[in-house]
Symmetry: C2
Subunit: 341 residues, 2 copies
Amino acid sequence: MAKTPTIREVAKLANVSIGTVSRVINDAVDVSPVIRKTVESAIEQLGYVPNAAAKSMRMGRSRTVGCILREINIAQLGGFVSTAQNVLTESGYSLLIANSEGRRQREIELLRSFSSGQVDGVLMGPYTPIEGEFEDLLRSLPVPFVMIDRDQPKWCDAVYADHEGGVYQATSHLLGLGHRRIALLTGPVRLHPGGARVRGFMRAHTERNVPTIPELVVSESFLNDHGYRATSSLLGMAHPPTAIIAGGIDMLPGVLRAIRTRGLSVPGDISVIASGQNDLSDLHQPPIGVVGWDQNEVGATAAALLLDLIANGKREEPRRVIIPTNFNPQASCMPPRKPPG
Amino acid sequence: MAKTPTIREVAKLANVSIGTVSRVINDAVDVSPVIRKTVESAIEQLGYVPNAAAKSMRMGRSRTVGCILREINIAQLGGFVSTAQNVLTESGYSLLIANSEGRRQREIELLRSFSSGQVDGVLMGPYTPIEGEFEDLLRSLPVPFVMIDRDQPKWCDAVYADHEGGVYQATSHLLGLGHRRIALLTGPVRLHPGGARVRGFMRAHTERNVPTIPELVVSESFLNDHGYRATSSLLGMAHPPTAIIAGGIDMLPGVLRAIRTRGLSVPGDISVIASGQNDLSDLHQPPIGVVGWDQNEVGATAAALLLDLIANGKREEPRRVIIPTNFNPQASCMPPRKPPG
C-alpha cells in the first residue's frame, strides 16, 4: 500500500506550522477562513487522513454513534436505520451498526467496546433483560445511550412503540369477527414489546368477556425461527387456533411457512396478523393485516435524543417518547370456519 | 453516570504496578498466569474498561472490522453478515456495519474514517465505480480490505458471485419457453454485478440467435426504487416485455408492485425471475424463480481473506474467489401469451 502522507507534509505544502494544521483538523475556532482553506486544500491534495484514534483522544469524541441491533437484516428496520443516519449525518456523525444476534455475551462485549472510546453514544434495543448485572453495566456506561423499543430501564431516555394499543386493536378485530381461539406469538413478557403485546391481547379479551387460552399465548422469543416452530406446534394441536397474531417484526415469514407446510390457506383456514408492514406483508396474496408504526419516526426521534445527550449531557428527568401504532386489517382476516358438526 | 474505575484502582486492588495491569490488558506474553488471573479478577470486580482508543494506538489495532454496505436491510444480506461475523468473532473481532446508501460522498467519508484507526480492516461492496480518485483512495488505504461482489479493482482480494452464469441460465430458460421480449433490470454495466448480468443475458441470446432488444435492457441502478420505476415504464410500452429478470438483490418488491399496480398476474401475464432467494420470493404465490448463490459462503470467505490480510499482510498475488450461482425456475415462468390476432 502507498505511503501515508504525514501532518508534516501537509504543513509544508500549506506553508503553515504543524500546530495550525492540527487546529484546522480539530475544528478550532481561532483559525482564519483563508488559512483553513489553504490547509484543507493541502490535506485534500496529499490525501492526508488524520489519525482518528489520536484525534478522538484529544477531542474526547469519535463523531460516531454505535447501534446494537438483534439482527440487521430485518426488512422493517430499514426506515429506522436510514432516518437515524440522516439525522446523525446532518450533525456530522456516522452510524455504525453491530449485530448482537440477541446474545447476552455479545451485547455486553459490544457495549464495553463501544463505551471505551470507539463511539460517542449508543442506540440499542437489547435482547438481554434489563436487570441485575446488565442494568449495572448500563448505569456505568461512560457514553450516553437511548433505548429503542424497550421500556426498561425507566431511568434512561427511550423511544418505543405502543405495541399494547396495536395488539389490543388487532385482537379486538379478531374477537369481533367471532374468533375465540386466537394465538399470540411474541417475545418474553419481561422484554418490552413482548409484555406490552400480551397486555393488549389480554385487555381485548377481558373487555369482551372472552377467556384467553393459556396454551395459545406463546411468549418465548422474538428470534425468527420461533415463528415457524411455534406455529407448527399450534397447528398440530387437537384444537388449533383459528387466528394467529405474529407479535415480532421478523416473525411473519416463519408463520406463513408453517401454515403453507400444512397445506392451509390464509384467511380461509386461518387468519393472520403481522407486526409491522413490509414487502412480504404487502405483496403476499392476500396482503397481510398489520399492527404498524412509523419506524422513520422512531429513528429520527432516537437520533435527536442521543445528539442532545451527547451535546448537553444527561437531563434531570429521562425522556420517554411513545410512538403510536395503528392496525390495518388488509385481507388476511375473516370469521372462523364453523367447526364440523 | 457512575464514576469510571481507573487503571490505578485496578493496580491497587490486584497489588501490582500499573505497568503490569497494562501488560495484562495488552496481552503481553511476559505476564505469569497467576498475575494475569489476579489482575483480570480485579478488572472484573471493579468493572474497569480499558480505554480502547488509547489501547488501539499502542497496539495499532482495534479488533474491529468495518463493513460498508449500500443498504443494511436487504433480506438477502442476512446470511452474509451473520456468517462473516461468526468467522470474525472466532478470531476476537467485532463487525461494525455502515450504510452508504450508495452515495459516493458517504463511501469516501466512511473509508477515510475507518482507515484512520477505527478499524483494522474493511469489507465493502462500493457503489461508486472503482476508477480515478476513488481507486487512488483505495490504493492508499492504510488498512487491508476485501471487495464483496465487485470484480474491480483487479489488484485486490475479492469475493463475488458468478452473476454472468446465473443470468445466462435464467435467460436461456426464458428463451427456451419461447420468450422473445425479455427485459433485464440491473445496475450500471461498469459495476460488477451489472456488467456480468448483461453479459450473461447477451450470451444466451447470441447462442440461440435471438436478437436482444436494447430498450428492454435497463442497466441503470441497483437502488430499490429502480425496480418499480423501470418496470412501470416497461409495462407502459406499446410492446411490453413478456418476461422480466430483476437483476438486483432488492429489486423484486418494486417489480412485483409495478406488475400488481397494472392489474397483471405472474406468470399468466408476465414471467418474473429474481436475483437471490428470500422470504418474499419463497412465500409469494406463485413462488418466484431465482438466480441464487450462497451468501453464507460469501461472508465466510470474505471474512477469512480479511483476517489473513490483517494477520499476514498483503500477498504478492491478489486472491479472487468466485462463488457459483444456480437457477431455480420455481413457478413464476411460463410460455408467453400469443399476441392477439
